[in-house]
């Protein structure tokens, strides 16, 4: 449904790459050639192994990368602002919080330690919405409620919150600006299943009100619950971009890495993909997954191009099978 949507993309990312300069002239290729669009009313889930570059991608969109980062490519917001070239002044004044909201990973580290949750919510309300005076109090309680943050904990300081509560406080703060694009980096970490569902359902409602959502998550069940599309990242590249229903249901993931990731779930095989992702400072010339891939052969010494939503020289059995039997429909 979303594919036929005529809506102009809220975010259009093309060839986005991020390199970190390291001592001794080395480079860490944290994000390579990311390309995707995100429309209003759409949720794209970005999943992948730890360290694959998901958070760096989000930070690049917000201009929050450290000084040793070099960004190239384009990330155009609403057809008019390239986030890659926009300066810090523009990003700070008009983009962060207003046009792009962020639910950060490690929320406890992002909350201001010396101020209570209530004080932080009220300040953000004053800054980003017109709310003033006696209306601020009830507005802060309402904002907390949207993220299932309990009202009787509003006067706590961040260090007095459990991980899950800090998470909800950060989500409440991020929703206040009602930005057209929301980046949620692991917004359900530390929440139990019931609260995960409540939180992602709230994010879905937010999306259904015409906002775009980039949901970065390791929680495949949460992604399956609300995403329209799924992007799987490996070693800094998007290796598969698929319709969520087809990805989580049938025919399932097409890329061997994506398959391994789903199979690692405790309700499935609970077996890690053997080995570790490659060093992003020392990527192989060809497919970065080759050292861990059961299907790798000599062709994989060349970087596979991204075609029809997947970057792999040898698609999985299901896919080959399907391609050979088009009459099945």
């Amino acid at each position: 449904m979303k594919k036929t949507s005529p809506a102009r993309p809220v975010l259009s990312v093309a060839g986005l790459s991020v390199r970190f300069r390291m001592r001794g002239g080395r480079h860490v290729a944290a994000v390579t050639d990311a390309t995707f669009d995100l429309a209003a009313g759409e949720c794209l889930a970005l999943v992948g192994e730890s360290g694959c570059g998901k958070s760096v991608l989000a930070s690049a969109l917000l201009g929050l990368l450290p000084a040793n980062a070099e960004t190239s490519g384009a990330a155009v917001l609403d057809g008019d602002t390239d986030l890659v070239t926009a300066g810090e002044r523009v990003l700070a004044r008009t983009v962060r919080g207003r046009r792009i909201g962020l639910v950060p990973q490690s929320p406890a580290a992002h909350l201001t330690p010396v101020r209570t949750v209530r004080a932080q919510l009220e300040e953000t309300l004053r800054e980003l919405t017109g709310v003033r005076g006696p209306a601020v109090g009830p507005a802060a309680r309402a904002a907390a409620g949207r993220a299932a943050f309990p009202a009787d904990h509003l006067d706590r300081y961040p260090h007095e919150l459990s991980g899950g509560l800090a998470q909800r406080a950060a989500t409440a703060l991020a929703l206040i600006g009602d930005a057209p694009l929301l980046l949620a980096d692991e917004p359900t970490t530390g929440l139990d299943r019931e609260l995960v569902e409540r939180t992602v359902d709230e994010l879905r409602r937010h999306t259904d009100r015409g906002r775009a959502l980039l949901l970065i998550t390791h929680d495949l069940a949460a992604a399956g619950r609300i995403a329209d599309r799924v992007a799987v990242m490996y070693a800094g590249r998007i290796v598969e971009l698929a319709d969520a229903e087809r990805f989580f249901g049938r025919p399932g993931p097409r890329h061997p890495y994506a398959r391994g990731l789903l199979e690692a779930l405790p309700e499935r095989e609970f077996a890690p993909i053997p080995g570790m992702p490659p060093e992003l400072a020392d990527l192989p010339a060809g497919c970065a997954f080759a050292a861990r891939c059961p299907r790798a052969d000599e062709r994989c010494g060349l970087q596979p191009s991204f075609e029809n939503g997947v970057a792999c020289h040898h698609l999985t059995g299901v896919e080959i099978h399907r391609a050979e039997e088009p009459a099945d429909a």
Binding site: P150, H153, G164, L165, G190, R193, L195, P272, E279
Partner: protein
């Protein structure tokens, strides 16, 4: 290995988050403690890890009653427990490289001569390469940092490992990998495990037995969880 007897603990004596909870982990046993967000299970884990002094109740570690918490705990008791928390950023000193982070417990117990060998060994087990070991926490991902935190928790060869939501922020493959590091260590050392979390599927797959928070604490409903949902 660990006995928690009628422990009451929290941050406000008038309103403790853990009330009258008892739990035992036998030597070599792995126990999963399941509870909803904010029920107090992390506080109990901190009591067991000698990091939080309870208001009432007693703790017995490897047969010896615990008399002091935090810096008051005797070194041999403190080092008998390894702990991994949910949020590695909050528990890792940002000034240290991952290598120094893993080595820190060895240095602070006067065993610096073991550093080189033990760090190399653990780095291989948790899957950290040399280049990553030289980076500081801000320059690695949360998952990479958590691998270092697990290595640090194992560096003194503890008889009891406490994992508080260790994998809550990790992808499926890294979760399965870290669980297998823990299990390999336990198989080789005979260490016991208390794994705290809310992922029933994970803890049931991982541990010998699981207990639900409500079973330990039948006297009341967890106030925070009720407030959160009400």
């Amino acid at each position: 290995m660990l006995e928690l007897n009628r422990v009451t603990a929290g941050y406000d004596r008038r309103d403790p988050v853990v009330r009258d909870v008892s739990l035992a982990v036998a030597p070599g046993e792995s126990v999963g403690l399941l509870g909803p967000s904010g029920c107090g299970k992390s506080t109990l884990a901190r009591v067991a890890a000698l990091l939080h002094r309870p208001d009432a109740g007693s703790v017995v570690l490897a047969g010896a009653p615990v008399k002091g918490w935090r810096y008051r705990a005797p070194q041999e008791q403190r080092t008998a427990v390894g702990v991994v928390f949910q949020q590695p950023r909050l528990s890792a000193d940002p000034r240290l490289s991952l290598r120094e982070l893993i080595a820190q417990p060895l240095r602070s117990t006067g065993r610096r001569h073991e550093v080189a060998v033990r760090v190399a060994e653990l780095a291989r087990e948790v899957g950290l390469t040399g280049e990553l070991l030289d980076r500081r926490p801000h320059a690695v991902s949360d998952g990479q940092l958590q691998r270092a935190c697990l290595a640090r928790a194992l560096v003194l060869r503890p008889g009891l490992l406490i994992c508080d939501e260790m994998t809550a922020m990790l992808d499926a493959s890294t979760t399965a990998a870290l669980v297998s590091v823990v299990e390999a260590y336990r198989a080789e050392s005979g260490a016991a495990l208390l794994a705290v979390g809310h992922d029933r599927v994970l803890l049931e797959r991982w541990c010998d037995r699981t207990v639900r928070w409500e079973e330990l604490d039948g006297t009341r409903e967890p106030a925070e969880a009720v407030g959160a949902r009400g």
